[in-house]
Symmetry: C2
Subunit: 236 residues, 2 copies
């Protein structure tokens, strides 16, 4: 296979929890494209030098090197126009962008407050100092001070309101079937699922049913993913 | 003209502040369709009996009667397919729905906490008892208890995050020009603007520049709207 995705791994090489890599793995499956997901650690900066980038996802598709999950989705739409669209074009693409930021700027901070201590536990030991240093600098406090599941879950509960409305009207954010908007948001739920056993959403919530549907897509790609709770001795 | 929009009015017959009616007025302008905006009060329930509905907006377009702002926008796309799309179809339409709920369930509660006392002041005196009773029942407390500009503005500041991202990438939520997503959200900013002089957004915010652009659209339809601060003796 001539297609490689550099994919963050954790304490187990098969524990793959990056929300941005999940967007891309689901996007590739949506297009019916195979990929080799190559394990990468936060501190493997040298391995990405060829891409002039220091983060994953990085997709190598034949001669093409594409970085950034949203850019990769846009690239896949351009490079494989005969496969089902992810972002689409015109207004559809502009609207997709809102889901990108909804995930990154409303859901991610709320989920991070809830699972940050699970997350550092899932990070590979050789990456933990790097992870702690960069995140503590970003938060302006220690991970332990930032950790606040009660606050995180309350923030998440508020932030999910527009999803509840949309998912009462439709099965997916993109309508009758899942698409780019769903993947842009769902990556963050895979992130939490892989590193934590925390219940983010009550089973009476329309968002819960959507998560279940998303886990089943593409032969259960999300549902089959290794979780920290499956890694012997790794979950506190 | 054979097209009538029942449009909520306040203490002055020309004070039109309903966020849902604003969606429709901007949507009609987007389509290049003229309309007579007929003043309606909260307690004028009889006037809407023909529509089997008790709220505005109600659009009467020749023989067609359409209620609910989102349904009206969908109707306009169906009835006038040769005019620029509002919601569009397929994924674009499904994504538009998210903006509807984003406005209604994240922005509206935050704005309402901030401007509720301005709002009742803008309501026509004959409607105030109705407005107070229905809203106090909905909030489970008095308007005075619900009123909390500090909390409302903090909530709004968080909720605007995805808009900041999208509006840094594009001039409008719908991309290079304004469309359905923009109108679905902007209605709530018109609501606040018409009843209050509160600054909801700092002028360094990308959302501020978008509001300014939205106010200028369609010959300054939003900017020309009467504000409570223009109504002599009405603003505290």
């Amino acid at each position: 296979m001539n297609r490689v995705l550099y994919d963050l791994c954790g304490i187990d090489e098969n524990l793959r929890f990056s929300p941005y890599c999940w967007r891309v793995k689901l996007a590739l499956a949506h297009k019916g494209l195979d990929v080799e997901c190559r394990p990468w650690h936060f501190t493997d900066k040298d391995a990405l030098e060829f891409a002039y980038y220091d983060k994953v996802p990085v997709l190598v598709d034949g001669d093409e090197v594409v970085t950034d999950s949203y850019q990769i989705m846009a690239y896949l739409d351009r490079a494989y126009p005969d496969t089902p669209a992810l972002l689409g074009s015109g207004e559809a693409e502009a609207r997709a962008r809102f889901f990108k930021y909804f995930g990154e700027r409303l859901l991610a901070p709320a989920i991070l407050k809830t699972v940050i201590m699970d997350l550092i536990n899932a990070v590979h030991p050789k990456d933990r100092e790097y992870f702690r240093d960069t995140r503590e600098k970003r938060f302006g406090r220690t991970l332990e001070e930032f950790h606040s599941p009660a606050k995180g879950l309350a923030q998440l509960d508020t932030a999910l309101e527009p999803m509840r409305g949309a998912l009462t009207d439709n099965e997916y954010l993109d309508g009758k079937s899942a698409g780019g908007a769903d993947y842009l948001v769902f990556g963050f739920f895979m992130w939490a699922r892989c590193v934590s056993s925390a219940d983010l959403v009550s089973n009476a919530d329309p968002v819960y049913d959507w998560i279940e549907r998303m886990l089943d897509l593409h032969d259960g790609l999300g549902r089959k993913a290794l979780r920290i709770t499956d890694v012997e001795g790794a979950y506190r």
